[in-house]
Amino acid sequence: MDPVRTAVMGNRFSAIVEEASAIVHRTAHTTFVKLIQDYQCALATPEGEIFAYPTQSGVTVFVGMPLHTTLDRIGRENFEEGDIYIMNDPFYTDGLVTHMMDVTMLYPVFRDGELIAFGWSFVHASDIGGAVPGSISPEFKEFYQEGLRVRPIKLFRRGELNHDARNIFLDNSRIPDEMWGDFTAMISGMRSMDRRLNELCDRYGTNTVKQGMQDVIAFGEEKSRDIIRELPDGEFTFSDYVEAIEGDQHIHLCTTMRIKGDELELDFTGTDPQVAAAYNFIIGDRTHPYVTQALTYYLLTKDPNMPMNAGLLRPITTVAPRGTVVNAEPPAAMGSRVAAGTRLYDTLLGCLDQALNGGLMGAGAGMVGIIVCTARDRITGRRRVSTLNPIMGGGGGRNGVDGIDGADGRSGALRNIPTEIIEVETMIHMRSCTLVPDTQSPGMHRSGSSLLLEMENTDQEATFTVRGMDRFRFRPWGTRGGNPGRPCEVILNPGTEDERSIGKIKVLIMKKGEVLRIISPAGGGFGDPLERDPARVAADLRAEMLSPERARADYGVVLDTEGAVDMDATRALRDERRAAAAAPQGHFNFGPEREAYNAIWPQGMRALLATEVLKVPKSARRNVMDAAYASLGARGCAVDEAAIHAALDAACAAHDVPRARAA
């Protein structure tokens, strides 16, 4: 690894992909690309390892995306100069596409007839057909409902547009022109990368450029290993749930992190079999950035100058059993995979929190709801679908710092839409958008606050959908003595006779004058609240984010008659509390709802059930799972190994499938 070549090539590669990403963004047509920036382009080696990935625009979550399997299956020898392959098939590409909306292209870069790199690009297409506009509904059971699936085909053959390939996509979209606009933007971006990489070869020589690709990846790997080596060796497991759309059969996500020296394995064994809802995704056999996200962020946090490439992922291996939510097989639906992705992120945080001496952080709010309203357009009078706002919750308290109010790391790139613009453009009157006092979960470092949105419909009728809501039943967990967070809450017509809590919104029709209030969850606290610096408690009191009652109850902080902290009384009260407190049990504080669930499903039992069900033939797997889960839950006592086997035997027998038992 040459010290100068690595630095200069790293910068030049980064300039090339940043420029291309800016071109895609500038020339694209749809809001998904323009505002939400759900797109990206990058450069990979001929083997398929990404060596340069943009950070200034587009999504960061796919840094290090492996192209290998797709290239193996297409056959590198089938790429000719001027070709562009287009695809959106998650299964054929084995996770290069994580859901069908992410239309992807691959572009071979040649130098003097030699294949020296691949350009990769995707955009989240706003509509690829399917049963609903936008192609996504959490309730879809199979990918067939989500639009057309296309394995890699040549969109360009030696520079000539293949009209058939183009038409397959366009004929199946509700917005073909915009789709083609986005495709053209991707093509412009990749052509720019081709041109610039060749210019770089002109300037520095092809061998230097090729060697530079290997250098920058090796540098990324070395930095990543340096950070992993600092982590204590060991095995850490953490489970969390995506809440069920109906009933209580929540989706179990389970991560085991094994750290040894400078290597790290993520094992998702124990995660539920894929579900008949659009929460699944696929990652294949190689380490996939979609599931390493919390870990990738940890690496970037420890070293913000980390090169953005596949080297980061080289020390990490993954085990993701096929047929589970995180490595699904046909006919799994995947449109709303973000819910599972968000919760998997929490499980990695949970593992890291155990691994790190002193801990890392409490769970974030763990949901990102996208509020969509259909009502009359104020100007045209036509009915119109408007995205009103994303709603997140407060971030978890962290080792050394409080959580962020009203926003959370994993979805932290999203922007809101100003209240004034919502009111100008839609029939919705925003009554309030504010933080909520006394929702910052107590801890030595408390969480951020919940966010409250209150919306009044001024049209005759408006239809609301909110996708991505979660954490109604299981609170975001606190850690190291920190309290769990507040769950999500949705109230219709607050303060009136009609007031009612309505829980997770699927479709809500609101009449004129009706008011919808959403209070997002707050993350968990970090560390014992009795250890919180009284000066910080006083600051929260002064800001009116904390009431004197909660200051006393949660933090043991006593105020004098002037409202200032009475240090002596505080010390005495805290000592008294500490003496009375039971010894803490484990790192995490899940809150009463999850504890009650854990009483039925102790540590490891959901993982065992999931693992055993995976052995059942695919055709009956879902039915067996549902039946066994129902019968185990109905017993009203803690599930154990024997009960699981008995329930599965019975369910298999009822569905007439053989039951394979582990030896």
Binding site: V4, E19, H25, T31, S57, G409, T419, E420, C433, E544
Partner: protein, 682 residues
């Protein structure tokens, strides 16, 4: 007429003065150390030194255009007395929630920048105006007064008022201001609708907050300077530069200091435009302003600056139109280190203090300026015309651990560091140009700032830029913007959500015209204005889109020609994004007018002709460039005359900066004395 441009930076305060007397013009420039803590001191002593060179000036018309960073520093350092914000009921946390988005979501320990107004000083006014300007809930002045009393009790010394939808109907903000005034008396009260009436509550609230926050410091500073001028130079007129590249009266600056927040680098762009107009044939310029602590670039197309409404200062949005400047990293102070096995330059900076090791202010870490010395580009004996001796041995000591780690010699490691620094800049400039749809091959680089003319040519070579222009006074170029800048103001009417008719369009632009003319009349006596121009713009988008573009429009549109407006929109959309939809419905969000009032300004003059460069030759030295040692001729710029041509590699020394002519470039001195570097055919 005597005109002086003054630019206060973190390290130096720059002066440039020009006088036209009896048909003869004369100009003088000067650099003095800035005086942080009391900037007025440096201002006054520098001004006295400059004016002394013109003899007795007490009776002359004196025009001073001054760029100050007082307001910027106040925000960045957050050093001001507490102010309160009055907002609409239901939205107390507008400053805390911001736009929700986190700056760096990949950082697990990311934190929001705390608001300039703490939550305990934000008060909800029980009122509500709607999107169409109608009142849903009337304001109650008594309730506002109660808020104001509480705010004062909690220590507030000024007020910002930003009520929802005040860009459409400002009545409630005005009532609130009166109510606060009754309780609080003579304190600063900024209302959002008066400064920049645009839709978007967070950004508009921040405009009012920033204004109220910096107002007392700015007012104090201006009072100090005006006091001095009134006493010593009674015929002086003082103008303050603003973030849009123009200037304004001190009265305006006192009321609306928010307009100065990003004025520093904007002046360099103004000066570049003045030069590029004269040079002609330059379709697109990229400014390259590199000093000790920062490097900025900005694109100029067809002699028009790029305007941004999404700029920031101290992590806060400044959503009024300002010159679009892209910071691309640190400057000569960027530190050179080993990052594991790889050489790294920046982002840490030695800053002005302790600065690079060679500067002898106690810096021990190698910085980019040390590498210039070690590569032979800067002569340590002749830096700033010999006024500052550099310590080459200290530079060598500082970089030797890096050279050792790289297993190479000092000079090789120094050149490697410059290459890495250049590639850092490439990585920022290429995407910046791509966002504006411009190829580096098609721009002319204009370099200035202390290190700009040394490193700019290196960057040009790496980016494939074929032409570089070096102004006559690169190191005080921002100050020279003050000699040519005009009085500039932007006015806006938000029509977002209204049905735009030809009548509304016409009336809107007529009103903007009146407002703009009124503004100009308030800045200076009419006879001082040489020429007035009005530039008109609309901000528009295709209906249903959520991103908009600013398009310049002509007189026809201002007269209400809707068809011309649509055509202009489609054309600009096509140019910017490579596609347009002539059938698509165009939605207009804002009407804007920019007034530009020109003041008497210098015209560049020929420097005299004597074609041969050899008369300026002062010697030669070995410089390290492109992996090898090269003998470079060294020239004295003061002795170079028009028409002289010299070939790279060469060094041109000037009393306050050093210029590099890279290998493969020729350098021609043009009639006005600017150096034009051009890439020869390779």
């Amino acid at each position: 007429m005597l005109r002086v441009g003054i630019d206060i930076g973190g390290t130096f305060t720059d002066f440039i003065a020009w006088r036209l007397k009896d048909g003869r013009s004369q100009s003088v420039n000067l650099k003095v150390p800035s005086t942080p803590g009391n900037y007025a001191e440096g201002f006054i002593s520098g001004l006295e030194q400059v004016l002394a060179q013109f003899g007795d000036v007490a009776d002359e018309d004196l025009m001073i255009v001054h760029g100050t960073t007082i307001s910027t520093n106040t925000v960045i350092e957050r050093k001001a007395d507490p102010i309160a914000l009055l907002t609409t009921e239901g939205f107390r946390d507008v400053l805390n929630i911001q736009r929700l988005r986190l700056r760096k979501p990949t950082n697990l320990f990311e934190q929001r920048t705390p608001p300039l107004v703490p939550r305990e000083l934000v008060f909800e006014v029980e009122e509500r105006t709607l999107f169409d300007g109608s009142i849903r809930k009337p304001i109650d002045p008594e309730q506002v007064k109660a808020c104001a009393r509480e705010a004062l009790a909690r220590g507030a010394t000024g007020f910002a008022i930003a009520l929802y939808h005040s860009y459409r109907n400002d009545e409630h903000e005005r009532i609130a201001r009166e109510a606060v005034r009754e309780v609080a008396g003579d304190v600063e009260i900024s209302i959002s609708s008066e400064i920049w009436p645009q839709v978007g509550e967070y950004e508009r609230s921040m405009v009012a907050v920033l204004n109220a926050f910096v107002q007392p410091k700015m007012a104090g500073y201006l009072t100090q300077i005006e006091g001095y001028l009134a006493e010593n130079l009674p015929k002086a007129r003082l103008f303050i530069t603003r973030s849009n590249g123009g200037a304004m009266s001190t009265e305006e600056a006192r009321r609306f200091p928010v307009h100065t927040l990003l004025s520093g680098p904007a002046s360099g762009v103004t000066a570049t435009i003045d030069m590029s107009k004269r040079l002609g044939n330059i379709a697109q310029c990229l400014t390259f302003d590199m000093g000790g602590t920062s490097t900025d670039v900005s694109l100029i197309r067809n002699n028009q600056q790029m305007t941004s409404t999404t700029s920031e200062v101290g992590d806060f949005p400044v959503s009024m139109p300002v010159t679009d400047i892209e910071a691309i990293g640190a400057g000569g102070g960027s530190i050179i280190t080993m990052d594991g096995p790889v050489l790294r330059v920046g982002p840490q900076s030695a800053g002005a203090r302790p600065g690079p090791a060679a500067f002898g202010h106690g810096g021990t870490q190698p910085a980019v300026s040390d590498a210039y010395v070690l590569c032979g580009m800067i002569d340590p004996e002749n830096f700033l015309g010999g006024r500052m001796k550099l310590d080459a041995a200290a530079a060598e000591r500082a970089i030797s651990p890096v050279a050792e780690a790289m297993n190479t010699d000092i000079r090789t490691s120094a050149e490697a560091a410059l290459n890495v620094a250049t590639s850092n800049m490439v990585a920022r400039v290429m995407p910046y140009l791509a966002r504006h749809g411009v190829d580096p091959e098609d721009v002319t680089l204009v370099t200035f700032g202390g290190a700009g003319s040394l490193h700019g040519p290196l960057l040009a070579r790496e980016l494939g830029i074929r032409k570089v222009v070096i102004p006559t006074t690169p190191s005080v170029f921002c100050a020279s913007g003050g000699l040519v800048t005009r009085l500039v103001n932007d006015a806006v009417i938000t029509v977002h959500g209204m049905e735009l008719t030809a009548q509304l369009l016409k009336d809107g632009f007529a009103e903007l015209q009146t407002r703009s003319a009124d503004w100009l009349a308030q800045q200076v006596e009419a006879e001082q204005i040489v020429e007035t121009n009005y530039d008109r713009f609309v901000e528009a988008r295709y209906r249903g889109q959520s991103f908009q573009i600013l398009i310049p429009v002509g007189d026809a549109v201002a007269e209400g020609d809707m068809e011309a407006l649509r055509a202009a929109f489609h054309a600009e959309h096509q140019r910017l994004y490579s596609h347009s939809d002539p059938e698509g419905e165009v939605e207009v969000l804002q009407l804007r007018t920019r007034v530009l009032g020109a003041l008497p300004a210098p015209v560049a003059e020929p420097i005299g002709r004597a074609a041969d460069a050899t008369q300026a030759l002062t010697g030669s030295r070995n410089i390290r460039l492109e992996g090898g040692e090269h003998l470079a001729q060294v020239y004295d710029r003061a002795r170079l005359s028009a028409g002289a041509i010299l070939a790279g590699p060469a060094i041109v020394e000037q009393h306050d900066t050093t210029i590099l002519v890279p290998i493969g470039f020729s350098c021609t001195v043009n009639a006005e004395g600017e150096l034009e570097l051009e890439l020869e055919k390779e």
